[in-house]
Point group: D2
């Protein structure tokens, strides 16, 4: 579980994420390590893009499932964050991922869009789809269950 830091507690979730898109706040180190970026946010929605390389391959010549899981988790968590007021944080409790097509370096740029399903006072759910940008083909999809927490409590 990843409590939202004190530093960002004065911004709404959407403001915090927009500042990452705008480049005024640094992105997640893991996004540089794995090669993806947050490119767009709106209420209930977060879009990431990335281009998988050999650095995220498994031993048998294709992209590791962890690449898709990391992107889907990012997109789903951030979509929940876009709906949270200042002073309210969230933590991912659970993540389910379906891998429906293999991914390789030839897949090229991929898009991962997360959307909230239900944001309640104490828990939230969201879903995301990972697609190949060139063709729109679905590569993977997922759902998540998050805990919503009042940081001032």
């Amino acid at each position: 579980m990843t409590p939202l830091s004190a530093r960002s507690a004065s911004l709404t979730g959407l403001e915090h994420l927009q500042s990452i898109v705008d480049g005024t706040v640094p992105p997640a180190p893991i996004s540089q390590t794995m090669g993806f970026d947050l490119v767009e946010v709106a209420p209930g929605r977060a879009l990431f893009a990335g281009t998988p390389t050999a650095a995220v391959y498994n031993p048998i010549g294709s992209v590791h499932g962890g690449f898709a899981a990391t992107l889907l988790d990012s997109a789903m968590g951030c979509s929940v964050q876009t709906e949270l007021p200042a002073g309210v944080g969230y933590a991912t409790l659970e993540l389910s991922v379906n891998l429906v097509r293999g991914i390789t370096a030839e897949t090229g740029r991929v898009l991962c869009e997360g959307r909230t399903i239900h944001v309640g006072r104490r828990a939230a759910t969201a879903e995301a789809r990972l697609t190949q940008e060139a063709t729109g083909k679905l590569l993977a999809h997922g759902t998540t269950t998050c805990l919503v927490t009042d940081l001032s409590a």
Copy 2:
């Protein structure tokens, strides 16, 4: 879905993975990118170890859930692979992950053990637990559903 390569089709799954542990076959590039290694395999079991660093952090000062998901996916997939004869491959269809404690660089070395639950002729399931080595505390756990495929068919 990640079909097992033709090159490894002459080895059993366990032989293939043991050669990675022994260092005679190179590990997954993603394991170097994210900082973990396959350290032990046995029938129905695979153990990974790693030490999370700032390179796998999320924007809010802790380890991204994708780190745990990638390790759990690796451990579960490899545990299934240990039970497959030569000429039989597998692909991860689905992955569920629960994150139960936050992880930071201060967590230190972590262990991730995967164990098969059921390996059938056409599908297999496995589970894994991610723990802090120093304390044995549970950090995350997961289950997976894999497709088992006859590579000669």
Copy 3:
């Protein structure tokens, strides 16, 4: 895993389900036991409706999570079935369910719509949402992973 019976192997999945909607083939016994019906099918889509009663309550005065899980499983499995040609069956490998609002006898009639996400040659995924008919409020949602099997093989 539930292989499709030999009897229905001459119909497409959609034809088989339409005959249940039409009443020319008897519904699932469990649908009478738990109080729901298949009311509409179309390619990639299946709609169930039901009215929960005290017969599906848990010990603490509300509808058991198994009621939602059973409806979601039915809707998702049937949505996959609508896309299968004659001679091809499926089996549910995995099912994930999120319960987002409590259900009681006062909830009244509920609708459960399943939709396919990806139907491949060997595996398929689908999702479903359970809503209160009177208000359209989301009660639960889920995803599934199915094995697709050639019954003639």
Copy 4:
């Protein structure tokens, strides 16, 4: 989500469940509808038993996946409940189920054992396995994510 009723708030979770095993408190109506009983509880553990009949069949001649999902949900939720003090309730947020072998009326009596994995202050996880009593063969397994709530707050 299913808040624990006010009536049972003076008992620990284990005391409440033991009174169902002992028959001094009535069981869940759904357990009679679907044909299973809570037979044993201990800290971190709950055991159900049942015998599937034609009443829980799908349209194609075998037991509906909802039967396994309902039993697994019951066993996992109750295992969490055994660890909760008086005045603390829980609600199932999410449930994942894997179906590994078909079930029919010939399967006979089945056992479903739930065990907690992690019970925290705000969330809990548990797992369960459904087996054929006569052979010990695994039929299905699952995991759950629960919200833990202070009923006095």
